[in-house]
Every structure is written in C-alpha cells, then in structure tokens.
Symmetry: C2
C-alpha cells in the first residue's frame, strides 16, 4: 500500500463540486414541477441550460483527465472495492463518455429534442403519427451519430442503454425479456378480468383531497417518512428528488374519485426517496452518492408500491389506519382491499397498467426500439408495428395513435441523448421523464431545454421492467433474511425492511455496477423467475388464479 497521492484530494474536491451542481439541478427541477409560477418557465430553461453548461465544462476539464491518469498507478495497488478506487473508476467513466460527444452534436440533439417534442405534442393532440414522423426520423439519425462517438460495443443499442442502465447489454436483455414475455402473456390471459374497473377505485371514493393528503402523510410517516428530512408536495406528474442527503422530496397527485392514484403514487415515490435518503453521508457529496441505475431505482419504488404496498399484511395494517382518516372506508375489510388493489385489467395505456400487465407494455417498446436501431423497422411502419404488438401481447386493438404509439412523451420529447456525463445521474432522467409523461407545458424554452439535462429515450423503457424484475428478486432474498417480514409489515413495523434495503442496496450508492450489486445481494444474476413466481403467488392469493 502506498500513501494516497495529492491528486486524490483534488479529485474529491472536483467530485464534490459536480455533486453540488447536480443537487442544485435537482432543486431547479423540483421547484419547476411543484412551486414555480407558470411565467417562470422560459427563464428556468435558461437557468437549467447554464447550470448544465457549467457542469459539463467541469466534467470535461482536461485537468480532470490528468488527475485521473495520475491516480491510476496508485489505484491499481488498492483494494478494488475501496470507495476511492470506485470513485476513480466512476469518474473516469463519466469523463470519458462526456469528452467523446462533441459539443456541437450535443447541441444538435438538444435542439432536435425541442423541435421533436413540439411535433409530438401537435401529433398527439391530432392523434396523427404522420405529423411526428419527420421529427422522429431525425432523432433516430442523431441517436446513430451519438452511438458513433463510442467504440467497443457489441450492439449499437448497448450504447443507448448504458446511459440509463450502466453496463447492461442487448445480449442480456433480449433473452430476459423474451422469457418474461412467454411467462406473462398466458398469465394475463388467465388472470385478467373484463369486468369494468369499479367507480371510485379500490378505496371506494370520492374522498376529499385534504382527507387523502392526511391519510397519506399518516401512512408515509408509518413507513419511514421523516418530516425533518423529507417533504411531500403535489405534482401533476409525480416524482421523487433528493436535493441533499437530508432533503428528500417526494410528490404525488390527487384524484378526488380514486384514492389509489395518490396512495400508490406516494408509496412508489417513497421507495425512490428512501433509496436516496439512505445513501450514507460519507458518499453524499461525491459521485458515488447517487443511485446506480434507473433499473435499481425503479426496483426500490416498485418494491414499496407493489411488493409491500399491495401485499396482504400491508393491507391488513393500512386498512384500519386509512378508515380512521377516510370517511366511508371500511377498515375491517382488509382482505377485500387486498383483492381490489390486485385486480388485473388489460389497458391500452402504460401508465394506467396494473402490476401484472405492465411489463408487456415495456416489452413492446423494447422490441420496437431495437428494431428501429437495427434498421429492420422504418419510422413509417412504427404505428402499424405498435398496433400489431399490442394485439399480440395484450389482445387489445388500438383505436388511434394517441392511445397507441404517441402515448408516451419519451419518443416525443425526442430521442435525446442522455448525457450521463453531465453529472446529473440517471435519477433525474427517470424523474424528468416520469414527470413529463402525458403532457408538457407549451413553452419550448422552458421544459424543452431541460430535456437535455439528463433525458433521452431509446434504451430507457427497459429500465422500468428491470426494476420490476429486480424488486421481485431482491424480495426473495429479503424474505430469506427476514423470514417474519410479513408479520412485521402487518403490525406496521417497517424498520427491518428499511434497514435491510439500506444495508444491501442504498448504502452502496453508485459504488457497484447494477449487475454486480444484484449478484452480491441475491447471489445470482438478474432473472425472470422470481418475478413470475411472485406474480403467480400474488394472483393465487387474491383468488384470481387457482391456489399454487
């Protein structure tokens, strides 16, 4: 072991500044989506772009490259798992990705995103894909130019995927999604009901918004929301955002007629927030102090939303609690609630899909993206391919493009390269895109300049499904480690669950690549079986499938 060279302190300082700038960016984003008066939008775009430019300038500073080079010989002699070595590794990764993309291309992608999103909005309003066609083709072309900046990959799609899910490859995803699809299609056929979704949702609304809010605060404080370090606000497109290690902000939205919207939305964002809140302080002001990937992030949100929030013991704990705060809710009927929140319905719209059908929506997008990038599908043929896929996977006929290929902003806002190198972390992209989903303000300078902060499309969708798969796989390990987790949830003791997640996932920050993280925690590679096993068990439990 040699003593740490002086360059190490300089590297830490640079990482700290990049982390600060990223957190400031998070605040701009949070504010824009919760507090900012509408007339602030144009200037917010400028502010975000300026902050972005400052971050990018710092990340691509040749002096950073010199520091990284100077530290290599020292790092080679250290424990590869040491924080400093991991930091060096991750900073080099970000630096090299950043310097490979010429500023002119980044600017072009940014501009195209703005134009693309405007075209998408118009096309979606008219339910007419043809109005979006040219803009989308331009995006595909720019994505290819982005891929051309890199070398050493097996598949062009890998380069895009890597921006959201580091080190994930098409070769891994393809069989995984294929297996998932084979499991889900018959499962949905068996489990889905054609009965209409009940009026008032599973909680029998309407419920006054203020009652909903108090009920959610009560539940959140029960699961671990700490008012000294968290906020809950309203956002039309809910997201979670960490402004600082002690400052985690989650949002939800309220539907007067369906409490489930706010309730499961809040639990979902709580899962994201808890990941961020439990990243240890020593990593807080460093590149390592951010979630490692969108997939892992989504695994945390879906775990709380579905594996915890839609579980029998959770329903047993939460039903009487909610009954106190939501007039008209029957708290004694936890079992009925459990069944209602786990009903399976086919739905054309991804964001309205239930736990069982959801991933088929992602499989569809993944296959289409891959075909577009491989060149086996033309942009002109995309709507047709979408409609065919929807029929094949979910048995649904798509009535128009707005309810089909144009439903997500992801492609609309424009195939923007996600520049992870811009130091913002994948998280912001997830949040940005979820927040943008469905509709966006008109002003191109406002939201659209934000797009290039950390957004992009191709290669993004799979992370949603990766999150669902990881959540189920983590849950199997968790229940081995905490055999009485159902019992603790049933009595409202969420500390063992939080601590297990904190120790095994959250404490790592970005230290380990996602695949290595999952391997270490669960002892195996990412797999489909735990998710399908979980779904089958759940659906049998609620009586939708026969007992296993």
């Amino acid at each position: 072991m040699t003593a740490a060279p002086p360059e190490l302190a300089a590297l830490h300082e640079r990482a700290a500044i990049l982390a600060d700038l990223s957190h400031i960016h998070s605040l701009l984003f949070w504010d824009q989506n919760t507090m900012m008066p509408p007339d602030g939008a144009p200037a917010r775009g400028d502010q975000a772009a300026t902050l972005e430019a400052v971050s990018h300038e710092r990340l691509t500073d040749p002096e950073l490259g010199r520091l990284l080079d100077a530290l290599e010989p020292w790092a080679a002699e250290q424990d590869p798992d040491a924080d400093d070595v991991r930091l060096l590794h991750e900073l080099r990764r970000d630096f090299e990705k950043a310097v490979r993309v010429p500023t002119s291309l980044a600017a072009e992608i940014s501009r195209a995103a703005a134009l693309g999103q405007a075209a998408w909005q118009e096309a979606r309003a008219a339910a007419d894909f043809s109005r979006f066609r040219d803009a989308f083709e331009r995006q595909i072309e720019l994505r290819h130019r982005y891929v051309d900046c890199f070398t050493g990959f097996d598949h062009r799609y890998d380069v895009l995927l890597d921006d959201f899910e580091p080190r994930m490859t098409t070769a891994t995803l393809r069989p995984l999604f294929s297996e998932l699809c084979e499991g889900l299609v018959p499962l949905v056929a068996e489990a889905a009901t054609d009965a209409p979704v009940p009026e008032g949702g599973p909680f029998g609304g309407p419920h006054e918004v203020e009652h909903q809010r108090l009920a959610i605060m009560s539940v959140l404080e029960g699961v671990g929301f700490d008012p000294d370090g968290w906020r809950l606000d309203v956002a039309p497109h809910p997201f979670a955002q960490r402004i600082a290690p002690g400052d985690v902000r989650i949002t939800t939205r309220y539907d007067l007629h369906d409490f489930a919207v706010a309730f499961f939305g809040a639990l979902h964002e709580f899962g994201h927030g808890l990941y961020e809140a439990q990243i240890p302080p020593r990593l807080g002001r460093s590149l390592l102090g951010s979630p490692v990937s969108l997939g892992v992030h989504e695994s945390q949100s879906r775990l709380w939303e579905n594996l915890v929030g839609r579980s029998r013991p959770f329903c047993a704990w939460v039903a009487p609690r909610l009954a106190e705060l939501l007039p008209g809710l029957d708290g004694a009927n936890a079992e009925a609630l459990y069944r209602r929140v786990n009903a399976v319905h086919r739905n054309l719209i991804r964001v309205e899909a239930d736990e069982t059908t959801y991933n088929l929506h992602i499989v569809l997008r993944f296959e289409l993206e891959l075909a577009l990038i491989e060149g086996t599908l033309s942009v002109d043929d995309l709507p047709h391919a979408w409609n065919d896929g929807m029929h094949e996977l979910l048995g649904l006929d798509v009535p128009d493009d707005a309810q089909g290929v144009l439903q997500d902003v992801h492609w609309g806002a424009g195939m923007v390269g996600y520049f992870p190198t811009y130091s913002l972390g994948n998280l912001m992209a997830a949040q940005l895109w979820e927040a943008l989903a469905e509709d966006v303000p008109d002003d191109a300078r406002g939201v659209l300049q934000d797009v290039h902060w950390g957004a992009g499309m191709v290669g993004y969708f799979p992370t949603y499904t990766l999150g669902n798969l990881m959540a189920a796989q983590l849950w199997e390990t968790l229940t081995e480690d905490i055999p009485d987790v159902d019992e603790t949830i049933g009595r409202g003791d969420f500390a063992p669950l939080r601590e297990w997640l904190g120790e095994h996932i959250h404490a790592q920050g970005r230290r380990l690549p996602p695949a290595e993280l999952l391997q270490r925690v669960t002892g195996r590679e990412l797999a489909v079986v735990p998710f399908l096993r979980y779904l089958r068990g759940k659906l049998a439990g609620v009586g939708v499938l026969p007992p296993t």
Copy 2:
C-alpha cells in the same frame, strides 16, 4: 458610429450566464427559507458555496477583462446611455471589484463571518456583549484589510458603503443623516405617545391565520400581485426574491394576535417584488436586469408599506375589503384604522419601530459604524456608546445588550465583506440580512456559508434610511405627475401608481447609478426635506400633530 465589435456578443453571453447563476442562487435562498426541511441545511451551505465559487470564477475570468478592454474604444463613440454601454460599464465595475480582493482574504472573511455569527448568537442569548467582543474586533480588522484592496476613495467607509449603495459616499451621507436627525428628534418628542400599544394591534386581532392569508391575497391581488408570475409564502423573516423575470416570490409571517405584522410585511415585500417584476424583459438576463442598490430597493418597499399602505385613501379602500375577510373588523371605520396604523411609539428594537422613529435607529448605527472605522470608537466602548446614543436619540434606557447593541444579526453575522462582484446583486444581501434578522439557525455550515454570498455589515444600515428618504422624494414627484393618485388609490386602482414606478424606476434596472436615477426622476439630489414634510403631514393628518 461604428458597428458593434464581435466581442459585444461574447460579453452579452457572459452577462447572461452571470445573471442565470445569480437567479439560481436566489432560488436556493428562497427554498432554504420557505421549503427546505431542516436536515437539508448543511448541504445547502455546500451548494451555495459551490455556486458562489462558480460565479466568482466566471466574473474574474481574465478573458472577461480582455473583452471589456477590447470594447472600450467602441463604447467611447456610443451614446453613454445606451444599454450596451451601461452594461459594459457595470460589468467592468463588478469585474474590477472582484479581481481586487484576493481569494484568500475572501475565504478569511467568510470563515470569520461563520465564527462571528456563532459568537454573536451565544452573546445575544446571554445578553453579554463581552462574549462577542473578540470576534467583532476581528471583523473590523478584516474590513480594514478589505478596504486596503481598493484605492481612490475619500473615506475608508466609502468602500464598504459602495458594496450596498454604489457610488454613495460618507461625505454625502453625513450631512444628510445629520439633517434627518435634527428633524426627527423633536418630531418624535412631539408626536410619540406613551400609551401602550393596543392588544391585538391596529386591526383588533386575534384573527385566524387562514383568514389573514386570504385577506392578504385579496389585497395583494388588488394592488397588482399576479398569480401567474408571483408566489406568496410564509417565512420567519420575510423577504422578496426574484427567481426570474416572470417569477417573483414574496413572503410574510403571521402573528395570530396582530394582523399588521403579516399585512404590512406583505405590502413591504410587494414593493420589493414589484420593482423586480417590472424590470423590463430586455434587461432580464443581463447584469443590468437587477435593482440598482439597496437604498432604491428599500425605497420601493417602504413606498408601498408606508406611503401607500398607511395613507388615508388606502385605508379607505382596504378597510371594507378586509372587513369582509377578517371577522370582527369594522370596515366602516377607515379613519380609525388610519390613525391606529400611524401611531408613534418609542421602541428599543429597530425591527419593531414605526415609520417616524425608525430612521433614528439607523442614524445610531451609522454613527457607530463610522466611529469604529475611523478608529475613534473602540470595540470595548461600543455597548456604552450604543446606550448613550439610544438615550440621546430616542430617550430610552437600554436594559441589556440583547435589547441594545446585540439586537441585529448584521454585526453578529460578522462584518462580512459584501462582494458585489460575486454577481448576486445587492438585493440578495438585503434579503439575506432581513431574513437573518433577530435569530438564525444553529448550523454554521448552513446559514453561515450563505453569509458570504452577498452579505456584509458595515455600510449596510444606511441603505434602510436612504430607502425611506428616496421613497418620500419619489412620492412628491409622483403626486405632481399623478395629481389624483389619492383618488385612484381610494378606489383601488393601483395601475397608475404601478406604471409610474415601472416607467421611472423599475424599467431602468441597474442602468443608472442610484444618485443619477433619483436626479433624473425627481430633478434633484437626495434630500431629507421631502421625508420630514411627508412625516409632518401624515402625523398632522392622523391628529398626532397640530394641523399644518
């Protein structure tokens, strides 16, 4: 006229980036004081410091100096009143101030501010100046080292003053304040009542906070608060902040027992906010798009709080409006309200002082600061000098240091040099200091790192009084231009007033130095007479003095 050289566009771009960074800083400040959960404080200090460093680096970039030099010959041939020439001039001013102060001294001042504020807090809690003595002496020493960075001034205090009130000098202030003092001391003696302040304040509280809030929103929307471009929030130490040209945020605080606290606080901040809101869009993303000085800023807030808000026609307009929203208030008795909100009471505490006595508090601080800088007063003798001055000016005996020399954070937080060059604008300092007034969070890394954003003490207090003087002087011109302004206020038509302020003051941004601005608008130099005339008229109007 020669064509603009290419350097001009580069200069604009740099000014735009500095403006963006300054606005982002404003957002950090606003959020910290309204929304941030308490555990976010330590990291917020880091974020602010990083943003500060980034701004400072950009402002002191030698390339900026080169651009400024290159543009001089061109500027010399232009209309000196042209925006571009003014921008060049102001940027050079900021640049030169920034490069003169060595980073090491700036860091020392920052550190000393943190230590000084901690010492002040301890001393204030113990009501014992001696515990603050050493830290304060260190601040004075650092202020002198700061002054030593500059040349070409007549008085050392001028250098400190210039950071808050550009181009204001001790030679101008001294006779002005002396004249003011001579006018005010007998006026207070004649007008002050020893009757106790009525329970429930002038509006006869208590009034529920939500009723107060709705009443204030109603009044604010009446005077020109536009929900599309403004926010009203709660802050323990109210301030106004512009995040962007279309995004002005004001705050107030609610006292259950005294509606006047929230009401006049909101009107005061509305005045600040309107200044910022009416800066024209063409200056919005430029160094010129900020208020020109703390004094001018304060003139706008005091104008709305006092000259408008405590006027007879305003009381006539607002009383019935408030009566509808504040149960128990008698809306017909506008005249009684007018008298109650204009009562004169002697008070030991500046922030509780009324319109008539307020400026004597500032005169006291100005004279003590000047004596400290001139070396005719030692730090050890400061409490004694304070108590003597309070007796002389207001006839009050100071029972302890906490109600005397230790009452304001300004000296406590520590004589910090205000680095206008850091591009944050004087506004932030005003707001920071007003927000900090009285007490501050414990965490030194949180608030105290903020201190060096744009704060400082010596030379700051006079701007409060300058604002009051300017407001009265502007009002005389305004009533000449709009002879029926009382009538328009009485019927709730504030548009002529807003427009006059917008055209004459707000539209200039930072284009003109404060003295030139006042000269152009009122046709004369800053004077005391209009203020005294206004006060005498007001006090006669409410029956405190005999009719004039």
